[in-house]
Amino acid sequence: MAHTTYYPPSGIYADSFKKDIRIVKTRTQLILAVSAMLLLVAVPLIPGLNSPYLLRLLIGIGITIIICLGLNILTGYCGQLNIGQSAFVMVGAFTSGLLNHSFGWSFWACVIPAGMVAAAVGVVFGIPSVRLKGLYLALTTLGAQIILTWVALFHIPLTSAGFTVEPVKIGSFYFDTPERFYYIALVFTAVMAFAAKNLMRTRWGRAFIAVRDNDRAAEAMGIDIFRYKLIAFAICTFYAGVAGSLLVHYMMWAQLESFTLNDSIWYVVMIIVGGLGSIEGTIFGVIFITALKELIFVIGPMLEGTLAFLPIGAGSGLLLVIIGGVAIFFLIFEPRGLAHRWNLIKAYYRLWPFGY
């Protein structure tokens, strides 16, 4: 079952192009999608599920999904490595926060400019690297992480100390509790994921894939590599900026500590575990790694408590070893990530009982 994506649902014949490109192809898929959405909408209302802890976790997952979607468009679809994504989240977060704090703009007015500014900064850092092949973008993005953090820390007084930001509001209704903000995160995540899914099926998306798979062939086919790499980078950092804007308006507080090099590496781990070049995979990866992280946050201190011979800080060491190990494991043994597993399950379901 190598080419799992080529098994369409049984009895569905794409006799017109319109039918062929539909995302939701069968009634079962429609029912599943609608019920999943309803379940997600209902989470804050169901007693037992609506603990603030779980809701905060879900909001975090939603925002991280937006960040990782952008990263997956750049890394998974266009084949350019970015290890400074959290710096661009920071640019979006501070842009949005400053517009709100200093000029009193509401969240709705801030969120698009935040994405735009992040994309503009991203393009500036992208220009030197897109002329070159391979690993050079990894370097400039690493540079971006270091330079941008330094600028925010030493050259803008407000951002170095941290400042308050207003919560999201519509009219006089404030989304200031986890139950309320959950819906904002849900809507944004759904819209951004849907946009990413569709964007990757357009001319741009196909051009990105061509650049990733063989840039020389792509150029010979008339694809302007320079332009498409920059577009991919701009989209990636735009997603980061929007997520950053959401993040500050959710936390109601903007500070530097949330945007470190380690965070950037975590995002890369998430998309690799989930599956490079897959929108569903991004979502799986973020959920998987976040759950793993929460688990280790519980186990780590327990271990440190019971095993007295471990030095101070062993818990954080354990976290790093496990996360790094999982990522390496996926790269070596499951390079197509959880998304591939998901496709295998789907293919098994579709071919059952003749799965050979």
Binding site: G79, I83, G143, F154, R216, G317, L320, I322
Partner: protein, 290 residues
């Protein structure tokens, strides 16, 4: 003037160590075109292994060096064997990302075994000092500089004149061709990672004796990346000059603009160099036309 002299000397001293670590990058890059982001963490682990022999087992300098350097070699080989070997034939990007994740694992290992606090300070080269004009030089600094420079020269000669060094350069050009000429690609990979491990360990020991044995040592790997790039990723001489240049820039900028500005300044220089001379000053320019 005295202040400038002091920071220039300090910059060159650190720069020689950056150069040594950058040679580790060059070594791995030349034999596999992989940029090893975990070099800084290999340095950290190597330094801690040395500290273990020297401080925990209370061995003398020479035996602990004789134990630490082969351990560094084995560390490099083990890393190659476990993480890089299974990825041969995969896209280059997955080999590069695996080194990023490797750095997480190595940092985690170090803090699992030794904790996150700095270790007890040990003296390695004695504590004398002398003056040149008005500038104070400690024995540690001079020894660090000498060792780093000597190691660099040995590595350069190795690449130019030994069969093994030439074989490594061949492997970087293309695996299939070299394999059909009777050179074992896997063996070359192992050896070059082993040597990179030794270079990292030497750098780690030198840095550890001057800065203290602490988790922050891994940042030297971060500074060695611009050094390797500015010099050109294919060239050991470039790595040394790049290292000295980066050390100088870092030290002068942090001397005049404040401590924190040093590292960002080196990355600004890196981005400028990439705009003007994308392949570094001594790198191999690959021309591609479609």
């Amino acid at each position: 003037m005295e202040f400038l002299g002091k920071i220039v000397i300090a910059g060159l001293m650190n720069g020689s160590i950056y150069g040594l670590v950058a040679i580790g990058f060059v070594l791995v890059y030349k034999s596999s075109s992989v940029l090893n982001f975990s070099q800084g963490y290999m340095l950290l682990l190597g330094a801690y292994i040395f500290w273990f022999f020297k401080a925990s087992l209370k061995l003398d300098l020479l035996p602990s060096l004789l134990l630490a350097l082969p351990s560094g070699f084995l560390m490099g080989i083990a890393i190659e064997r476990i993480t890089l070997r299974p990825l041969i034939g995969q896209p280059l990007i997955s080999m590069i990302t695996v080194t990023i994740f490797l750095s997480l694992v190595l940092e985690g290992l170090v803090s699992l075994i030794w904790g996150t606090y700095p270790l007890e300070q040990i003296t390695v080269f004695g504590r004398g000092s002398g003056t040149v004009g008005s500038i104070v030089l400690t024995t540690e600094n001079v020894c660090a500089f000498g060792v780093a420079f000597g190691a660099m020269v040995v590595l350069i000669l190795f690449f130019r004149y030994t069969n093994l060094g030439l074989a490594m350069r061949g492997v970087a050009e293309g695996h299939q061709i070299v394999q059909s000429m009777g050179i074992g690609v896997r063996r070359i990979f192992s050896i070059s990672w082993g040597i990179a491990g030794v270079a990292a360990t030497i750098g780690g020991i030198l840095m550890g004796t001057t800065l203290g044995f602490q988790l922050g040592l891994s940042h030297i790997g971060l500074l060695a990346i611009p050094a390797a790039f500015i010099g050109g990723l294919e060239s050991p001489e470039g790595a040394i000059l790049g290292g000295l240049l980066i050390g100088l820039i870092e030290s002068v900028v942090s001397g005049y603009l404040g401590n924190a500005a040093g590292v960002p300044a080196t990355f600004v220089v890196l981005i400028l160099v990439m705009l003007i001379r994308p392949y570094g000053f001594f790198g191999l320019e690959r021309i591609e036309r479609v």
